[in-house]
Amino acid sequence: MFRFRLSLVLPLAAALVLALWPLVWAEADLYFQVFGMACFYGVLAVAWNIYALSGAISLGHAAFFGLGAYGSALMSCYLQWSPAVTVPLGAVAGAAYGVLWGLLFKNLRGVYLGLATLASVEIPKVIIDNWSSFTFGSLGVVGIAPLPDLRLGGLELAFGTSLKAQYYLLLLFLALAGLVHRYSLVSRWGWALRAMRENETAAAMLGVEVFRHRLQALLLSSYLTGLCGALYAHLLGLIEPALVFSLHISALPLVLSIFGGRFLTWGPILGALILYPLDQLLLQPQFPTGHAALYGLVIVLTILFCPQGVAPWLRKLRQIAWN
């Protein structure tokens, strides 16, 4: 009973700290930005992991990210609609590509699926790169509308300009993604994903509808990734194919999830909240030239000594501390 409560209390306490520190430390734009982006990549990691929970390791989530970014940016550019509308609608472009994956890659597993997903990023990228009359080609889209401001009574949230407001928006986004991730682990549907991940044939013979559940996971995963891409376009104000369809976007959620621990609710989130600030606040300022190598070293050490990620390791420490 007590341990059950503790497992609730710790994430809640962490959420409270994340929500309240900007009130104490009012002028810290660097930290708002770094932790805001850490939240952002946390959502990306969660989104990637939802598909991975069904036993499918994707190396091409940048496809959804880029399509979401272009979907929203072009819609806002041509139709002049508010980002509040184009972000959720633009992300549908990512989800549509996700459904296509689900149907085309139905019978691919393991390394073959990984290669197919990796290669499939190139298709939308090359099309957008070359369809200059509509997508502005490799020059990219510039001057994308910033996120709109929101007035709540006396409170003004300038999502377009204030890094603090953006931090809160991204934190809320992360909290919602965390709830979706939790559902994907503990619900009956989550158990279906787990069963097919551990043994697909056995799961199918026990009545788990493998194809349907995996497609649902992919739909959710690709839509969430598309949302990230769409938000990214409006947060940054400019996008180009090489940026939003980059290998980095595909690899980062995988690294964060594995570093944090893929099979715990807060694993991928923890990965993002540790690794991204570590790189931005410590490694980059201290070792401006070699930071990528150090970052790589941290990841290699994790995989060697904590193959399940740091979350299960922290949980074990907590158990030792309480007993």
Binding site: A195, T201, M205, L206
Partner: protein, 255 residues
């Protein structure tokens, strides 16, 4: 005619299957009646497992039909066949290795045959585990169980889907005589509860002892179907599979 169809649980019509050039099943037709234990015997490579794979939808037959309670289920996907009421314990156990024994069985309870969800799946799962002799091992990760316990888990998990027809593939292979006896008792008890069972086994004593009817399969063809006694005495069966000396002694072992 209608009454006869109703008493057929599973009917195989002219099933053929080849893998590349090799013919594994040639025009196999069989009828498993409602409520019986049907034994399928045959040497290694006779096609028993392929036949099971076709029934459960893991392998597509080149020709022929599978009928379950008169309904054509030939090209249904495995989950749909499970929902219709056919479950199977695999020859090589395929547990969910990171889940506990209890969780393995719960997957069967939750996703198996569609009917009013059992009010207490966990109690039901524990009961099934106890029934196959896994009490006390509910919380052990399935990957850490030994081979025999993994086999038991296969049976519990298959039963958790609430099947009408249970396929048991090589259930007694590698079991101790005491465990074989337990398995025989379990199989008979399941039949007495109204389940229909289709069993294969190398351990002929078990199959011949518990089966109501037996079919002998050799090189993808059915040689004969009948009571265990008839089948063992069939000259082709004796030469293809049993050897003449065993053919003399085995019927005495059967009750």
């Amino acid at each position: 005619m209608a009454a006869k169809a109703a008493s057929n649980c599973l009917e195989l019509r002219h099933i053929s299957k080849s893998f590349q050039e090799r013919r594994v099943l040639a025009d196999v037709s069989l009828v498993v009646r409602e409520g019986e234990i049907f034994g399928l015997i045959g040497p290694n490579g006779a096609g028993k497992t392929t036949l099971f794979n076709i029934i459960t939808g893991l392998v597509r037959a080149d020709e022929g039909q599978v009928l379950f309670h008169g309904q054509d289920i030939t090209h249904w996907p495995p989950p749909r066949i499970c929902h219709a009421g056919i479950a199977r314990a695999l020859q090589l156990p395929a547990p969910f290795p990171e889940m506990t024994g209890l969780e393995n069985v719960l997957i069967g309870c939750w996703f198996g045959k569609r009917q009013a969800a059992a009010p207490d799946s966990e109690a039901q799962a524990r009961e099934l585990l106890a029934r196959v002799g896994l009490q006390g091992k509910e919380e052990v990760p399935a990957g850490q169980l030994n081979l025999i316990d993994k086999r038991r888990l296969e049976v519990a998990r298959a039963l958790a889907t609430r099947p009408h027809l249970l396929l048991l593939d090589e259930i007694a292979a590698g079991l101790s005589p005491a465990a074989v006896k337990q398995t025989a008792e379990l199989v008979t008890a399941l039949r007495d509860q109204g389940l229909t069972l289709l069993v294969t086994d190398h351990y002929l004593n078990l199959t011949l002892q518990v089966s109501d009817r037996v079919a002998a399969l050799d090189q993808g063809e059915i040689i004969t179907v009948g009571s265990p006694r008839e089948v063992v005495r069939h000259p082709e069966v004796a030469s293809a599979y049993l050897g003449t000396r065993e053919a003399k002694t085995l019927p005495e072992a059967a009750p």
